[in-house]
């Protein structure tokens, strides 16, 4: 709880001159020299086109990848200095298509990290129930179902519940609503943005959609070709004078001939 009491200026995650290249070949950099501080409790959106390096940047946080150069600090400690298993269990992770275990029930999926952490079973059961309520799924109806019996939107809710299970201070989300139909997506986006405000977690959110970025972000970090090219709160972001920002704001435009 001590971390929560610290001031909002405190860094939860810090990138210090981070580069990442495949097979350590400097010419093929996926991420180049990124420095960025993510404050505790903020929702930082990593915005960029496909291949801009945003998912790579996300995976450097929970040490799914290790930087080729520079350092990534989580709670003040370099990710390469801490035990990766402990690090990952303290960071929630939500991906597109949820990545639920098909052979586990919904309850078992949500209970994954608490089970790995050997919580007592009564505590796990009550936590699962609480989480399913939180993401709008009735426990009595869904607990014992398998992921294949759920719709895409419901599966994604389970993915969020699973990521929150052990109450991690940091949540990583990689285009969590990207695979959903537009109506379901809008529904989940609305609910999740309300939820995120209540949870008071540090959230790093990857998307290629500027609308989604504007909806969630306390700050938007724009990536282009592996470089951080802009960083601003949503209200300032649209006014930035950078060609890649213009490219994204252009994608917001309503097609001509369609009126409100």
């Amino acid at each position: 709880m001590n971390e929560r009491l610290a001031g909002p200026s405190d860094a939860a995650i810090e990138f210090r001159g981070v580069s990442y290249h495949i097979n350590d070949i400097p010419g093929r950099a996926i991420v180049s020299n990124v420095s960025l501080t993510i404050s505790r409790g903020e929702t930082l959106v990593l915005l960029g086109r496909s291949g801009s390096g945003k998912t790579t940047l996300l995976k450097l946080i929970n040490r799914m990848l290790v930087p080729s150069e520079g350092q990534v600090l989580v709670e003040g400690r370099s990710t390469t200095e801490v035990d990766p298993i402990r690090l990952r269990r303290g960071i929630g992770y939500v991906i597109q298509e949820a990545g639920l275990f098909p052979h586990f029930t919904i309850a078992e999926n949500v209970a994954l990290v608490p089970t790995l952490e050997k919580w007592p079973s009564a505590r796990i059961a009550s936590r699962v129930e609480e989480l399913l309520h939180l993401v709008g799924l009735e426990p009595a109806e869904f607990s014992s179902r398998r992921p294949r019996e759920l719709s895409g939107g419901q599966r994604q809710r389970v993915g969020v519940a699973r990521a929150l299970a052990a109450d991690p201070p940091i949540l990583l989300m990689d285009e969590p609503f990207g695979a959903l139909d537009p109506v379901t997506r809008a529904e989940l986006q609305r609910e999740f943005s309300a939820l995120a405000r209540r949870l008071n977690k540090t959230i790093v959110f990857v998307t290629h959609e500027i609308r989604e970025a504007l909806q969630f972000a306390s700050r938007i970090a724009l990536l282009h070709g592996g470089r951080l090219v802009a960083l601003a709160p949503p209200q300032d972001f649209l006014r930035l004078d950078h060609s890649e920002v213009h490219a994204f704001t252009a994608s917001l435009a309503i097609p001509s001939g369609v009126s409100e």
């Binding site: 929970n62 799914m64 990952r88 960071i91 991906i95 949820a98 639920l100 098909p102 990290v113 790995l116």
Partner: protein, 210 residues
């Protein structure tokens, strides 16, 4: 003599040959599974071993079964005349389907699931035992099923090197030019193969999760 008459007059002999045959198959399958499944798990991570192991297993499969039995006879410890040599040959024959299916089963899992497992803080062992293996189980079992059916058939040839089993009737029937005697070995062997296929097929469907 009609096949039916031969069958009736020799039923206890046929039954004991069937049991011998089944024992031969079960022992060989137990060894093959014990070797191929762990080896399959190992080659998921070890790229260099992978081509080698799959290659060797494929080579065994291409050797005509009668020749394989013949090749083994002069080899010390594993060779000689009798059941031991037959079991070694049957194990070598059964390796490939199990090994290949174990490898394919463990590697054909949706990468998003493995990514999530790793990101949730599961160790490599936990991912193997709780995610990869359960999801690969029905494919591994399909390999075991194929191998069992092959082994039941190939085991009839084991009689050529004195290992007993239903092949005894087949070889005797060929020598006597008697269909009745051949069928006394061939029909039970075919029934065993069908039964094994059916039973393992049922198990496979039961454990299939997706």
């Amino acid at each position: 003599m009609t096949p039916w008459n031969f069958f009736l007059t020799h039923r206890s002999e046929i039954l004991s040959a069937t049991l011998d045959h089944l024992t031969l198959v079960l022992i060989a399958m137990a060894f093959a599974i014990t070797i191929a499944v762990p080896l399959g798990m190992l080659i998921v991570e070890h790229r260099h071993l992978r081509a080698f192991a799959l290659g060797i297993a494929s080579v065994f499969q291409t050797i005509p079964s009668l020749a394989l039995f013949g090749f083994l006879i002069p080899i010390p410890f594993v060779g000689g005349i009798g059941r031991r040599t037959a079991i070694v040959a049957l194990v070598l024959y059964a390796l490939l389907p199990i090994l290949r299916n174990t490898y394919v089963g463990l590697t054909s899992i949706d990468p998003a699931i493995l990514d999530a497992a790793k990101a949730m803080g599961m160790t490599a062992t936990q991912i193997l035992l709780r995610v990869r293996l359960p999801l690969a189980l029905s494919i591994i079992l399909a390999g075991i099923r194929t191998a069992t059916v092959i082994t039941i058939g190939v085991a009839t040839i084991a009689a050529a090197i004195g290992a007993g089993g239903l092949g005894t009737f087949i070889f005797r029937g060929v020598a006597m030019v008697s269909d009745a005697v051949i069928l006394a070995g061939a029909i039970p062997a075919a029934l065993l193969a069908l039964l094994a296929d059916l039973l393992l097929g049922l198990v496979e469907r039961r454990i299939k999760v997706i």
